[in-house]
């Protein structure tokens, strides 16, 4: 009986490892191709053992850096702006809840559910009139819209966890709203802020729809840069893989580090 259970457990573990291997294969295959020569990347039967080369990374660099700069600026810029707008709102909704607070929160969540295609046409026309097309500020403004509801929801969820007695003690000492915000709410929710920021960065980094339709040459981020490989250089698999590896790696590391907070953020705090 005991041996049977042990065997069953070992089998289940084996199955788990096999499924995981299958799931990771496309990524591993891409990473491997990044270090192959073009001929090796195309070879049939596929090459599993080879001498790695860094040549592809050197070739990809030239076009990679401008797009990297744009992606970084758009992701960091929109995260900062979303925090500036979202943190006070989250604080107010958490610490001074009115009857309407839940309504405001739900409404903000609903804007996150708004499909981008429902707003892209007028936004494109507005951007064209304001000369915001193909500019970084234009892209940052849209990514802020995308991340702002997330910031409000996540930070609201973290700030409601701060014991209210702390605020009461501060009030007795005559603290102003600003002092409560900067002195209590922000310092005590730093871990939550870090997790939220990571999520915002990941979402902005991976976004493609706004990037593709609101930028072309000057402000095109990495998602557009990789998308262009499908037409112009679709046959250079090794180089494509090197570029894709450079694009994916930062987000993978961020996500692995923040995996616990990922669940909370992705479910808007519904699952903790």
């Amino acid at each position: 009986m005991k041996a049977q259970i042990r065997l069953r457990n070992a089998l289940l573990t084996l199955v788990t490892y096999l499924i995981a291997a299958a799931f990771l294969f496309p990524l591993v295959w891409m990473f491997m191709a990044a270090f192959k020569t073009e001929a090796q990347a195309f070879a049939t039967p596929p090459v599993f053992i080879f001498t790695p080369t860094l040549e592809n990374f050197e070739k990809a660099m030239g076009t990679y850096f401008p797009a990297l700069r744009n992606s970084l600026a758009a992701a960091v810029g929109s995260t900062i702006l979303a925090f500036i707008l979202g943190l006070p709102a989250a604080f107010a909704l958490a610490v001074y809840p009115t009857r309407r607070a839940q309504g405001v929160l739900t409404w903000m969540l609903s804007t996150k559910f708004m499909p981008a295609v429902g707003v892209i046409v007028p936004l494109f026309l507005i951007y064209r009139n304001l000369d915001l097309l193909d500019t970084l500020p234009g892209l940052i403004l849209m990514y802020t819209t995308m991340n702002l509801p997330l910031v409000v929801w996540m930070m609201h969820s973290y700030m409601t966890e701060i014991p209210y007695a702390i605020y009461e003690a501060a009030k007795v000492d005559g603290a102003t709203v600003a002092q409560e915000f900067f002195g209590i709410a922000l310092p005590l929710s730093t871990p939550g802020m870090a997790a939220t920021a990571l999520l915002c960065l990941i979402f902005a980094w991976n976004e493609v729809f706004f990037a593709l339709n609101l930028t072309s040459a000057n402000a095109a981020p990495l998602s557009v840069f990789i998308g262009e490989f499908k037409t112009s250089q679709g046959l250079f698999w090794a180089q494509l893989s090197a570029a894709a590896t450079l694009v994916v790696l930062p987000v993978l590391i961020f996500g692995w580090v923040a995996q616990r907070q990922l669940v909370r953020g992705l479910s808007f705090g519904a699952v903790k």
Binding site: L24, P26, F42, T111, M114, P122, T145, L148, S223
Partner: protein, 304 residues
Amino acid sequence: MTAAATPHASVAPAPKRGFRLTPAALIWPALLYLILTTQVPFFMTVYYSFFRYNLAIPGARPFIGLDNYKNLLTDPQNLTILWNTVVLAGGTLILTLIIGAALALLLNRDFPGRALLRTLLISSFLVMPVVTAVVWKNMLLNPAFGFFSWVLTSLGLPPVDFLAQHPMASVIAMITWEWTPFAMLILLTGLQSLPDDQLEAARLDGASPWQEFRYVVLPHWTQAIQVVVLMETIALLQVYGEIYGSTSGGPGLATTNLPYFIYQKAFAEYNIGLASAAGVITVVLTNVLAAYMLRLLTRTSRSE
């Protein structure tokens, strides 16, 4: 969703003279920003949808009432697109739920390397959708040099041009690969919050593994499952980057969904009126589904 507990609602902030930051002043910037960037454009989209408006034909913008909608909903081609949108979202949702649940159950046991495996398994969700599309299209699904074709031929089977012969199935497989970690993560977290004593009690009462799953695990899992269904439905109705990067909606219209269709109408054909009408339909469809699921969600969390 978490209903904010408000035990301290009665505590009024002490009145002070001069300028004070009020809660409303803290909320309005965020609110205003979202209204300006989501509500205003959406109402403009609704407005444009009543006109024959093509950027390639400047000057003329006649009001045509509901003709764009009529056109969209009666043209059999467009019904294909609507159907594609539903099949893509529904098919992916079902597959990610099944595989995600299986993975969550497998990972909810003690075994060596479990934490590492869990971390690695979320990777495909973090990969940029366009990268996923480009890598799958070129390196895995390619009929001549792709990895899957090599597997098939070494098994003695004929190679398959996946994206040409089974476009929708291929796209669903790709997006399932991407979204399974999401389902797995949420469902695993749901499992881990199940108190051990409940399972022990069931075991003491002599419950079989199936009864244990059916009467203890599943009811506890409902909320996590609903979160997955709600979030994925909303996200999957908006799938765009994966299609843009792999099939470009083809062959023909086989993998064109509403977002990709709108992109083509607006930015390739400059047909603003028709694209706007399709945008309105997408928003309505998403919101109806989201509202319905949100209600389901709050109903069950209340009954718990």
